[in-house]
């Protein structure tokens, strides 16, 4: 569930098809640079209602989703 939402946000931010982004996709694969990363982190904050630190959230879809799940369960 979280993974799908992370993929949807990334796809929308990068103007890509969701089908082209998978759990194992890294931000490097997507050409996400530091400014994209911070914007994506802030979009995740809006979507999930949590604080997301882009430095701690990881740089792959899988890591990002795990970070968000951990934050959500700690809420």
């Amino acid at each position: 569930m979280t993974t799908e939402k992370v993929i949807a946000i990334l796809a929308s931010h990068l103007d890509m098809a969701e089908a082209d982004i998978h759990e194992d996709t890294t931000f490097e694969d997507l050409g996400v640079d530091s400014l994209d990363a911070v914007e994506v982190a802030m979009e995740m904050e809006d979507a999930f209602g949590i604080e997301v630190d882009p430095k701690e959230a990881g740089t792959s879809v899988k890591a990002f989703a795990a970070y968000i799940d951990a934050k959500l369960s700690a809420k």
């Binding site: 400014l35 911070v38 809006d46 882009p54």
Partner: protein, 316 residues
């Protein structure tokens, strides 16, 4: 407070992204996409005080006021030509005013801090006509070999003549003393007794942290001042923000849920002019012919300090 005249001034020379890409490893496409700037004005012989004085003259002309009628001049800047005399003092001399004049520094939020200071003089009744200026020659604070900062900033000045009135509905000033996100070290001097090492006296900025701070503060501040004024964000004719990065403005548009055209932007042709930015933007909005009596504006700014500020102005 009532705004009765505004003015702005840019140096003659406009520097394009192409020109910069011949100096540092960058490109027009990267700068436009990441920051939203096509060109910026860079001073070749204009000083901060001269730009401030030119903006002031235009604001006085728009207000149909003589410099001798001013009771106070406040200039917001972090790039004064000299430590002393102040930019405000040099403007006083250049325009022929004879009132008290002082500078104030709150980095990019400076013009908003200066407007709020002006309001307190007006409310106290100790001044009736105040000239508020934001002026910067950011080009002297930049490391022209650092592609992450030298493409972002520009030079210029903006000014507003304000008088007593009921148009300053709400305001909020915010400071988070922090020397890790944005710093501009000052020259240390050559005291034989002081033991610190000189760091380069140029703008250093953590882009990610700045972006997060900017979007958060801008959203919070705009919501706070509109609530304080008893109006809704949807009542605003324009948000007139500090022009730091188009992406920050775009993000704030989404978060605030306003139509993009209500977020004023002129960063494309002037870059980030720090304390001058909101003053220049205010002048552009006031001269656009799109605002009329009764309209609500929110001015907001954020940046070094860290600092941020916002205010609600109703056009009288």
């Amino acid at each position: 407070m009532r705004i009765i005249g505004t003015g702005s001034y840019f140096p003659q020379k406009s520097v394009t992204n192409e020109e910069l890409s011949q100096m540092v490893d960058t490109s027009d496409a990267w700068i436009r996409q990441r920051v939203g700037i096509r060109s910026r004005h860079i001073a070749t012989n204009e000083t901060t005080a001269e730009m401030a004085a030119e903006a002031a003259k235009k604001a006085l002309a728009a207000a149909n006021m003589d410099a001798s009628e001013l009771d106070l001049i406040i200039a917001a800047t972090m790039s004064a030509d000299m430590v002393c005399p102040t930019v405000a003092g040099e403007v006083q001399s250049a325009i022929g005013a004879n009132c008290p004049a002082f500078d104030l520094n709150s980095a990019c939020s400076g013009f908003l801090f200066a407007l709020d200071t002006a309001e307190s003089f007006l409310v106290r009744g100790s001044a009736h006509n105040v000239l508020v200026i934001g002026a910067e020659r950011m080009s002297k604070l930049l490391n022209w070999e650092d592609r992450s900062t030298c493409v972002i900033f520009g030079d210029g000045a903006g000014a507003a003549v304000v008088t007593a009135g009921n148009g300053y509905l709400a305001s909020r000033l915010h400071t988070e003393g922090n020397a890790s996100v944005i710093t501009v070290p000052a020259p240390l001097g050559n005291s034989p007794f002081f033991t610190h090492l000189q760091t380069l006296p140029y703008v250093q900025m953590n882009g990610q942290e700045t972006f997060r701070f900017a979007v958060k503060r801008m959203t919070e501040d705009v919501l706070a001042v509109t609530a304080q004024a008893g109006i809704k964000v949807s009542d605003l004719k324009y948000i007139v923000p500090h022009q730091a990065n188009q992406r920050i403005l775009d993000f704030a548009v989404t978060r605030l849920g306003i139509p993009a055209e209500r977020m004023f932007s002129n960063i494309e042709t002037c870059g980030n002019t720090s304390a001058a930015s909101a003053a220049i933007a205010l002048d552009a909005v006031m001269r656009s012919g799109n605002v009329s009596r009764g309209d609500y504006l929110v001015l907001c700014a954020f940046g070094g300090g860290l600092s941020s500020a916002a205010c609600v102005i109703q056009i009288e």
